[in-house]
Amino acid sequence: MQAMMEKRAKELLADGTVNRVLGWSAGEFPYDITPAVFETAKELEDAFVYNDFCAANLSKYLVKESRKEGKILVFLKPCDTYSFNQLLAEHRILRENIYVIGVPCYGKADVEKLKAMGIEGITGIVMQNGTYTVETVYGDQTVKAADAMAERCLSCKSKKHVVYDELLGDEGEVDADCNRFDMVEKLEAMTPDERFAFWRGELSRCIRCNACRNVCPACTCEQCVFDNPNSGVSQKAAVTSFEENLFHIIRAFHVAGRCTDCGECSRVCPQHIPLHLLNRKFIKDINEFYGDYQAGADPEAKPPLGTYDKADREAGEGGRH
């Protein structure tokens, strides 16, 4: 797939369809891959990569990149296309300056999972036939790719690209039976005290680095409320447990109905806080309260918090309670 993508990128650069390519650039190790803009065939040859560790969702970079001169080629995985559509619906990206190539994804790997198996000192990873042969300074180890799959990919909602100009590989399908709300339901089934204890344990680790916010394709405000010194909310330090709660409630609330569940927030959290469980709660509630809604599936759809129905339930009413 990497070779095929590189070839198409070079062709589109050569025939002038696009003048830049937004993709992934290889790093020091097999897994530390950085999003990058390539301008020449040489740059692509030197660093372009597409493998199981290309986890970053590139769609948010288009907010900036699509406003530059010329057209840009972007490679989007299925879940990234939902973010793309959502950005489009919110007029945050300029569609006419973007050429989308959909690329298949069978689930991305999480190097933390390898490390949790005690695999350290990684110098190389050969990815083949569903297994990873991990070369380390302590000897080689073979791992099933499925065992190293990122948590978010284990409950992938869709392998279908909802938008593209061109598709490489086969079209996947929406998985209506994905069990992505399992953990939310598990939490809902707990007592309030247990839930409170669970979230205190998780949120108390927050270091307020803002990675979750900054990576989120739905967080594209010109100025975030948390960056406004007059809001009385400190941007960079959760001084008390209250502020930890406040930040995470508001962060999730501001993307409620807009979050496509791409899972980037949890992926980037340096403290491994399962932030997606907050977003998924909103998604699940919206589905239950106002009918099934998948942000980004249809750019023309009305956002659930931007509309209403006279027969809506009352706040605090119904549901599990």
Partner: protein, 144 residues
């Protein structure tokens, strides 16, 4: 020695066009409502964003109630319908985080419903009083 009875602090965000007038109505009809209820007038119930509610808790509130016009009667046509959706989600989230859901409430009270205002506030104050002090959304810095 006299033991101080616990009185919850309650913030009531009241829509200017109905519930605030409802509070007035309660006053002129000499219908009592608990003194612990502090009213903040807002132009419409949908002016209340989640941050207002959380900050009220931070600053010492034990309960927060939003009072707006009855659905269909919004001065701005549809504001309260949006309030309803937002607060449905927010309250559910607070519950999800293990924060007592009874500390937050939305009620529709018209300008003519002074009696309802008085009754609702008394009831809410009693509910909150039974929960005791807000501990889960408190900010220790703001405690004396």
């Amino acid at each position: 020695m006299q033991v101080n009875e616990y009185k919850p602090k309650i913030v009531a965000f009241c829509c200017n066009w109905c519930s605030y007038a409802g509070a007035d109505g309660a006053g002129s009809a000499r219908l009592a409502y608990p003194a612990e209820v502090k009213i903040i007038r807002v132009p419409c119930s949908c002016r209340v964003n989640p941050m207002f509610i959380l900050r009220a808790f931070q600053r010492g509130a034990d309960g927060v109630i939003i009072a707006g016009c009855h659905p269909g009667d919004c001065h701005y046509t549809s504001g309260n319908y949006f309030t309803r959706r937002r607060m449905a989600l927010l309250f559910s989230m607070l519950d999800y985080l293990g924060i007592e859901r009874e500390r937050t409430r939305v009620e529709w009270i018209s300008a003519a419903e002074g009696a309802k205002f008085s009754k609702t506030m008394s009831e809410f104050a009693a509910t909150v009083a039974s929960l005791g002090e807000n501990k889960r959304l408190e900010d220790l810095r703001c405690k004396q």
